[in-house]
Symmetry: C2
Subunit: 222 residues, 2 copies
């Protein structure tokens, strides 16, 4: 696809929350998800790699009930079957999950399929296979080294230039370090801790969204 012919995207990745329920009581987890919705997240991904299929499904139904009330699309990490069973809005697949092409085929043209890409070739392949957006990173990996971060941002920018679908930067981003992306033509950021682990997830989401929207090079795709 010509990257200059940008269509209205199916997924608004401006502030994309990926959940992490590890160590949280379910009630607390769901409350935090709801607060994040109130704070203005634009997309939500349920990511529960450790749970059994039945538990994942059960939790997906509960999260869907919340996200629907706020009209925020819910994606399921990896499991297309759970996305279908729970009536979610789509899936996010990584490089070790079902291929984008298969996810698209199972979900049909209207559901959202997002993909992780770490390189330009991976990004182009995912776009060609039908991905609606890309998650690209990690910008700040667990063991942060300045040189790693700069390389990550360079790759991120190259991917943004190469594809015509929205790109969300992922990996250790928060309000405090967002300025590293001020020259990146990303469409948004994807976070876990910067919202889920804050004392006030609603306010954290609101503040982070403001900061993302203020990024001067952001691609307004929604």
């Amino acid at each position: 696809m010509d990257p200059h012919t940008l269509h209205t995207p199916k997924a608004d990745v401006t502030l994309y929350l990926v959940t992490d329920s590890t160590g949280l009581r379910e009630e607390d987890f769901l409350t935090r998800v709801e607060k994040a919705c109130r704070g203005g997240i634009t997309l939500l991904q349920l990511r529960e790699k450790e749970r059994s299929g039945r538990e994942y499904f059960r939790l997906a139904l509960k999260v869907k009930e919340i996200s629907s009330r706020y009209h925020i699309p819910l994606l399921i990490d990896d499991r297309v079957d759970i996305a279908l069973a729970a009536g979610a809005d789509g899936v996010h697949v990584g490089q070790s999950d079902l291929p984008v092409k298969e996810a698209r085929r199972l979900l049909g043209p209207d559901k959202i399929v997002g993909a992780t890409a770490k390189t330009v070739p991976q990004a182009l392949e995912a776009e060609a296979a039908g991905a609606d957006y890309l998650g690209v990173g990690a910008i700040f990996p667990t063991t942060t080294k300045v040189v790693t971060v700069l390389t990550a941002v360079e790759t991120l920018n190259a991917i943004c230039q190469a594809v015509g679908i929205p790109v969300a930067a992922i990996g250790g981003l928060n309000k405090g370090n967002l300025s590293i992306l001020e020259n990146s033509p990303i469409s948004g950021v994807s976070v876990v801790s910067a919202i889920m682990k804050q004392a006030d997830p609603e306010n954290a989401a609101r503040e982070l969204k403001k900061a993302v929207c203020a990024l001067p090079s952001r691609r307004h795709l929604s």
Copy 2:
């Protein structure tokens, strides 16, 4: 369903092989699966809990290619999405996987949905939700005690009486201990090691099938 009104079942569980690729080179694993097919298994389940979605899918395609040549239905453990993507013939779901009802809804009426049941209520629930057969056990759990085995066989028999769908006995069964099921109205047995871990999987399957077919109380449902 009236257990006396037995319809021709969709799944023939006479000799039902569940795979285990742990510790095997892929080529060796696939060769063993093919030998089992030649030896007369009637149903095949790919069970790869440890693999990533992409690896599971990739292996499912390879196994499907083999099983199709022998006209043996291939089921995928747990992952309905991988079953759909790989064109498998159905799924097997345990008590911690997607519920039978959801699996059936996603797969439609023609695919095979099998379920694990450990009690009569679980068996009746699975049958009502649309399961085509039940796997019941473990007859010989890892820590074998005679009293456990007898209780397991009692439960197995009660389940066979309660449902109208085929029941396969599972758990540590082999040619040597099969006689414990001589009064059980099972339709077949499900094994892993008794075929996959034998020097000659083809012959092991052939011999085991003969022994299963000779069980005097077996329900001939196919």
